[in-house]
């Protein structure tokens, strides 16, 4: 049993090291010789434009549900006026980044992993290496650049759709006035909230693209292996996104509190 635990721990540690080494290789190779624009553009289109509809629907329906729940839960306590703030705050700081990352992982991450995995098992990646081309630079770097630029934009879009969805429900279904939905946002939505959402979206983008590409590049075992790697890439990305969300929330709030305290001291 102990031997098994030791072996598994060693395997996981080796995998983390290998993953980190791939991320560094992608980062530095992209810095040294940036991937060609057509490759990046193709990935931007695939990740960004092709995900717009799914991200819009997710944000929109989440906004519906949030507005309805807030109205029912808070209305009887006379707090229906905070519906807009609640929807906006939840969408900007949590649900926008998380749900976008989940949807992009499901739609794009799995596809990236399957594509790279199938290239790996059919020796196409080895063929690339035999032609003196670093597959991390040619295949992963364009996906990485496209991912970290498109995922925050998709998150922003999803957040706006969520707030708009919440607005439709609050105003047209629950007869809240538009000003009572939007006005409190100016007071309660801070730059910190927006920064939190942006930082989370960026980190989730880095995680989901690198994890899915890593799993794809390390695929073994033919068609069954591609299926296995794809499932693992999605599950691992989801877990890492959720875990990192918690740690980011804690860290960002602690930094925010610290900054606020310093500012008040100076005043």
């Amino acid at each position: 049993m102990l031997v098994l635990v030791r072996k598994q721990s060693a395997r996981i540690l080796w995998m983390i090291g290998d993953y980190v080494s791939m991320v560094f290789d992608v980062f530095f190779s992209a810095l040294k010789s940036p991937p060609s624009w057509p490759l990046v553009r193709e990935q931007m289109y695939f990740i960004g434009v092709m995900s717009l509809s799914v991200v819009a629907i997710t944000g929109f329906t989440t906004g519906f549900v949030l507005a309805a729940q807030s109205f029912y839960q808070l209305g009887e306590k006379g707090l229906s006026g905070v519906t807009g703030v609640l929807v906006a705050k939840a969408m900007i700081t949590e649900l926008g980044p998380i749900l976008t990352a989940f949807m992009v992982t499901g739609r794009v991450g799995s596809s990236m992993c399957a594509e790279l995995g199938s290239m790996k098992v059919t020796e196409q990646i080895d063929a690339m290496k035999s032609m003196a081309i670093n597959p991390n630079a040619y295949l992963v770097a364009p996906r990485f650049i496209a991912g970290i630029s498109m995922i925050p934009l998709l998150t922003l879009f999803s957040t706006i759709m969520g707030i708009f969805g919440g607005y439709l429900i609050a105003v047209y279904l629950f007869n809240l006035s538009p000003s009572s939905y939007f006005d409190p946002m100016h007071l309660h939505i801070t730059l910190f909230d927006v920064a939190t959402g942006c930082i989370k979206a960026f980190i989730f983008g880095v995680l989901l693209v690198t994890v899915c590409c890593y799993k794809g590049m390390k695929t073994t075992g033919g068609a069954a292996g591609v299926g296995r790697a794809t499932t693992q890439s999605v599950v691992t990305s989801y877990i890492l996104i959720l875990l990192s969300d918690f740690f980011l929330t804690m860290a960002l709030n602690m930094i925010h509190q610290e900054l606020k305290y310093d500012w008040m001291k100076n005043v």
Binding site: T122, Q124, D126, A127, S130, I133
Partner: protein, 253 residues
Amino acid sequence: MIRVRNLWKRYGTNDVLRGLSLDANRGEILVILGRSGVGKSVLLRHIIGIEKPDKGTIEVEGVQITSLKKNEIYEAVKNMGMLFQGSALFDSMNIEENTSFYLKQHGDPKTGKPFPAAVIEHKVREALAMVGLEGTEKKMPSDLSGGMRKRAALARLIVYRPSILLYDEPTTGLDPITAQQINELIVQIQSELKGTSIVVTHDINSALFIADRLALHQEGQIIHVAEPKKFLNIDDPTIHFLKETFKIKESHK
């Protein structure tokens, strides 16, 4: 010139290469014979730097591949090429894009600048004509037969005229006519490029047709190397078996 010394590689508990040593000279085709699964392809993957050995050294044209860092390996293998068993054409690209891939990525080694589009087009057409695949430029790999895919992979290899050519089971799974076409192409490419070629196969007919020297790979080592005629006279049960097979095939002709 390729010089392999005391190469060891283990996968799990299986020692695939056990102190393998081998020399391949410039201008010759060295054919490595051996049963499936003895590590012939693994040897080629080590020579071209895709895999790292546990122990031992590989020297290619004076450069020790085994002591290089990952990024240095890419530079060192620029003058090498490998034909993969399953062709390994990029299935998201058409045949023209596959064939021009190396040229577009690396540009002109003399000037360090990208090749003009017309030069690339000319080189691609020339390479495809050499393997008899004119007119397939816009086809996708999935539209081609196994033999055509192999020839397209050969075109992708010869288009940049590497001085070291590695062929992994070039005729496996092909009908005798297509296999013979591939054999003739390998000989033709060798006579044009005059590089160092290593062919891994278990097809004795193919081996005898193309080889300048034959090597027998067994239990992770090269146990015999000789010119074809001398090779067939070596007193070894595997060579006796191969000779018998060849005789049977000859008697059928």
